[in-house]
Symmetry: C2
Subunit: 236 residues, 2 copies
């Protein structure tokens, strides 16, 4: 029997040409593609990766529910991990596709603690993050020289992380800005940063949209797949 | 005459298979490859990318001196930018290769303000960052759920940025740790974080080295191409 293996494969945030050579080779050779999904959502990851996937591969959609309920999540992550480990133990090469990079806010990493107990071979293939894609699309550095930068996922409800990041960093990446557009717009206005941000949605796809107008942020018209770059010291 | 264009191309941090499909296509079609170098250093970027580069392409090595002298740097960046713009205006496709991602601490971005004045076509191709590669190589998330993370380039001399990052973040990436190993080790020991870091050198190459021993950090035996991930809340 062929020895199975699990790959966590970063596929970038939208442009199929931004998969790495290594990612495309794994997708071509995998027996099973794991495609995480949330209720009522199509898989954007599958859409990006589809042309590289072996026609004979089985696509296995696994539910990762949208809930903050800790016990339910743990239970589901463990179930999903055991199912994947079983497939690997049966001799399958399994590729778990993940938007952007697998080490940055990916669903794949939630199953990792359970996978590690299963004693199967695992390899994680890094990918291009959304924030690097966004900054590249506007030919602007995230960070130069000895500057720092930080990455803040925006939460629903009031979020002190954002405000603290804006206090302490010159370069800030806001992930999931659609979670709390109003607070985000207010913070930018309060700090006179209306001309110091760029938001890009569905970067690298035919639906890519570049937003620099604070009124659009305020009016909550931001798609889900968006990332914002804020540069306090320069207008962008 | 063919219309020239400048590409800034991220090529990842070591493994040639971590170039994106788009990067390989550009390297295959470019007339001129710009390869930045510092005094007395071979080009690691060229070593990574070499198999994708068109045999007929001209390799143009441009000096980006290692100095903090502002005027000298500005002068050199402008000269380099003008030379590149000239090549593009002559109808060449020019690819400026850059380690990791072009928007994260790259030499390419230093010439961008001068390039923008030249009215030539520019496209930046994102790449896999060293920190994503390092975290992937140890199958460990940089950041999960609603956690933040920050990226701090370590400076020579005393560096308050590191200490502030360790105060305020659970997940910290230290770039260029070899700049100040002693301070880095002292900070980790002071905060009881001897088991909460991993440092990877030349990630993705045959010389890759994974260091988890604080004594090695203390003794300054860290190669130049290294990145450290610190996770305050979990042992890694």
């Amino acid at each position: 029997m062929r020895k199975g293996k699990l790959y966590g494969v970063g596929i970038g945030c939208g442009d199929p040409e931004l998969l790495t050579v290594k990612a495309t080779k794994i997708l071509k050779s995998a027996d099973i593609i794991i495609c995480p999904y949330k209720e009522n959502k199509n898989s954007f990851a599958l859409e990006i990766a589809k042309d590289y996937i072996n026609k004979k591969a089985q696509i296995l959609r696994l539910l990762f529910p949208m809930t903050y309920e800790h016990e339910e999540l743990q239970k589901r992550w463990e179930e999903n991990a055991l199912l994947i480990a079983q497939k690997v133990k049966e001799g399958n090469v399994v590729a778990f596709i993940t938007l952007g990079d697998p080490t940055v806010y990916s669903t794949y990493m939630y199953i990792m603690p359970f996978i590690k107990k299963q004693n199967i071979e695992v390899e994680t293939i890094p990918g291009v993050t959304s924030f690097c894609s966004v900054a590249s699309s506007v030919n602007t550095p995230i960070s130069k020289w000895e500057e720092n930068f930080c990455i803040v996922p925006l939460r629903k409800g009031v979020d002190n992380n954002l405000s603290s990041a804006l206090d302490n960093f010159d370069n800030i990446i806001v992930m999931k800005p659609s979670n709390n557009c109003v607070q985000l717009a207010e913070e930018l206005i309060k700090r006179n940063l209306e001309n110091n941000f760029v938001l890009v949605s569905k970067c690298g796809t035919s639906e890519e949209e570049v937003i620099r107008d604070i009124e659009v942020i305020k009016s909550k018209k931001i798609p889900y797949f968006s990332t914002m770059l804020i540069k306090k010291k320069i207008n962008i």
